[in-house]
Symmetry: C2
Subunit: 343 residues, 2 copies
C-alpha cells in the first residue's frame, strides 16, 4: 500500500531509500500481505525485498533480491542501487538491526512519517477491515449461542479462535474473556471457571492482515438493578462518544467527553477511550487523556469506555470500531443491549 | 525458570539487575508463563515485574510493581532498589527500549549468557516439550486421516491450527504445507490447490509456551521409482544423523555428516541441519555449516535434512526433535515410511 507516498518522503527528506526490517508494521503494510521476512527497501524507483533463498521469489509490486552471502550481497545491492542515505523506523527497529544499518549507511528516523501514512485507510484496506468486523460479529453471536457449553474462560477464548479459523481469519490479539471479579482487570489473562456477574469479551478477528477490535460485556446470572444501571451508564457514554466523534476532532477532547458522560464514575475508567487500528491493533490516532491526535478523513478508531471497580468487583467495557469515511460508520454491529445469560 | 542462575550472572558481571523487555524470549522463559507485558527486573534479591495497572497483579515467583506514572515510577523503583548497573539482551531489545534504559542506567549486554541458560532444558520444560511433540504427532495422524477433505494447501494449514486448539495448544510457527513444485521452496508460504507429487508438512504445536517442530513429506499420487529412491536417501541421511548425534558433539560436524550422507545430492540441501528450540522455535545450538556450537546434556534439537531440486520440482524434508538427556530420545514419533496418498 502507498509506496508512492514513501517516494514523496524520500524526496522531502533527501533520502535514497526507506529500509524496513521484517517486524516493522510498515513491512506488512507496504507489501500488502501477511508476510514478514527479509528486509524491505523502497527506493525512488523501485520496491525491493532482500530475502533468504529459503523463501519464494514472487511478491506483487516487489522485486525480490535473493541473497547467498547476506553481508556481501547486502553491500553489493546498496552499491548497485547507489543507496547511501536511508530512512528507518526508530519505533520498531531492533538495536542490532539499527547497528547493522548504521555500519554501512547514513540512517535517519522517518518512523512518524511512515506511521502517518497508515492513519487513513485505502478502500482496499477498508474492505479487509469490514470483513474482519463482520467475522467478529459472527463470532460474538456464536459465543452467545454456545455459552452453555463453556465451563472455563479459556473455553470461550478457544471458541473464538476456532470460529475465526473457520472463517479464514486469525486473531488480532489474544482474546480477553474475563468473568466475575476478573472483569475488573482490564487485560485479564489468567484462566478460571466462568464466574457469575459481568463478563468482558474483548476480541477481534484479523482478516488478510487487518484487525478488528470489539468488546461486549454480558451478564452471567441475574444482575441487580444497580448493576443494570451501571451498565446502562457506560453504554450511554459510549453511544454519546460515537455521536460526538467527527472528522477533525481532537481525540483528547473525545476522551474528556467520555469522562463527562461517566460523571462520578469516571474514577473507575482506567484507560484511554480508544485507538486507531489496521495492520496493528494499536495505531494512531490515540484517544488517551490530553492526546493531540485528530480524527482524519479515512481514520478508523475504537471507542471503548470502561468501568472497573475493585471494591464491588464489577468490570464493564463496551467497544466498537468506527470508520470516518464519507459518513461516520459503526463497523461492529453486535447488539449492545445487556445480554443476560443465566449460567 | 532458572532465575537463580541469573543471580550468578549478576555477581560475575558485577550488575545490580538484569532488565528484560516484554518481547525478549528471556521474559517468557524466566516467568515460565506465556505472558509478555511490562518490564522484568531480576535483582540479586528478588524478581520484579514493572507492569501497567491494566494487567493482573499475580505472577508466581514475581513481585508485581504496578505503575501509575510510567517514567516517574520507573525512576523511583530503580532508586529504591539501588539499581544502577544493569544487564540487558542486545539480541532482542528494541532501539527505543535500549535508549530508555541507557538514559538512566549503565547497561551491559548479557544476552549471550541469558540465552545459554535456555540451551539445556529443565524437567519442567521437557514435560511441556514432550506434550507439544505428542500433540504434533496426533495432528499428523489427523492430517493423513482427513486428507481427502483438503482441496487447498491452506485447508491443511487450517486443519493443523484447529487440531492444535482442540488440544489446548497453539502453533509454534506458521505451518508450511507445500505441495508439488511448491515443496522446492523450503519456506513456501503462498496458497495453492494441492498439487500431485511430494508434499512437505512442516509444523509444530506450542504447549504452555513451549515449541515442537516436525516435518513429514508425503506423496500425493503415484511416485516414480526415482522419486522413492530420493526420499529414501534423505531418510537414510536423517536416520544416520540421529544415530551419529551425541552429547559433546560439534554441530558443524553433524552438518558435515549430513552432507556426506547425501553425497552428490548435497547440492540440493539448502539450509542448516537443525537447531535447538524451546520458548523460541530457533535457539542454540545451531547445526548450520561451520557451527562451533556443541550438543549439551539437556539440549533438544531438530535434525532435518532436505532436498530441493528446482529443475525436477522435487522438494523433500524430514525432521524430528531429539532430546539429549540420560539417553538420546526421538520425541516426535510419526512414521517416516513414505506415505503415499492417492489424490
Amino acid at each position: 500500500m502507498k509506496t508512492g507516498e514513501v517516494r514523496k518522503i524520500l524526496l522531502k527528506e533527501k533520502l535514497d531509500a526507506v529500509v524496513l526490517f521484517n517486524k516493522s508494521p510498515g513491512f506488512k503494510y507496504f507489501i500488502a500481505e501477511d508476510f514478514d521476512h527479509g528486509i524491505m527497501i523502497i527506493t525512488r524507483k523501485e520496491n525491493l525485498l532482500f530475502l533468504s533463498p529459503l523463501y519464494g521469489p514472487r511478491f506483487k509490486g516487489f522485486k525480490v533480491v535473493q541473497w547467498k552471502k547476506f553481508k556481501d550481497d547486502w553491500l553489493k545491492l546498496m552499491k548497485d542501487k547507489r543507496i547511501r542515505r536511508v530512512g528507518y523506523d526508530a519505533g520498531s527497529v531492533l538495536l542490532r538491526q539499527k547497528r547493522f544499518l548504521s555500519k554501512y549507511l547514513k540512517a535517519k528516523d522517518v518512523g512518524a512519517l511512515l506511521s502517518a501514512l497508515r492513519e487513513t485507510k485505502t478502500p482496499e484496506e477498508m474492505a479487509r477491515i469490514r470483513k474482519a468486523c463482520r467475522i467478529t460479529d459472527e463470532i460474538f453471536k456464536g459465543i452467545v449461542n454456545n455459552f452453555k457449553s463453556f465451563r472455563k474462560e479459556s473455553d470461550v477464548a478457544r471458541h473464538i479462535k476456532m470460529a475465526a479459523l473457520e472463517r479464514g481469519a486469525e486473531m488480532a490479539f489474544e482474546p480477553i474473556t474475563a468473568s466475575g471479579k476478573n472483569a475488573v482487570t482490564a487485560h485479564h489473562n489468567k484462566d478460571s471457571k466462568i464466574n457469575k456477574g459481568f463478563m468482558v469479551l474483548d476480541f477481534g478477528a484479523k482478516y488478510k492482515g487487518y484487525c478488528s477490535d470489539m468488546t461486549r460485556t454480558v451478564y452471567v446470572g441475574n444482575p441487580s438493578r444497580k448493576e443494570v444501571e451501571i451498565y446502562e451508564k457506560v453504554l450511554r457514554a459510549q453511544l454519546s462518544c460515537i455521536d460526538k466523534a467527527r472528522i477533525g476532532m481532537n481525540c483528547g477532547e473525545l476522551f474528556d467527553h467520555a469522562v463527562k458522560c461517566l460523571g462520578g464514575d469516571a474514577k473507575y475508567f482506567l484507560h484511554g477511550l480508544g485507538h486507531g487500528f489496521g495492520i496493528e491493533i494499536h495505531e494512531a490516532p490515540s484517544s488517551s487523556p490530553k492526546s493531540k491526535d485528530r480524527i482524519r478523513k479515512g481514520s478508523v478508531i475504537t471507542i471503548e469506555p470502561g468501568y472497573y471497580n475493585q471494591k464491588t468487583g464489577i468490570g464493564i467495557r463496551i467497544e466498537d470500531d468506527i470508520y470516518f469515511g464519507k459518513k461516520k460508520e459503526v463497523l461492529t454491529k453486535s447488539t449492545k443491549n445487556l445480554m443476560i445469560i443465566r449460567g
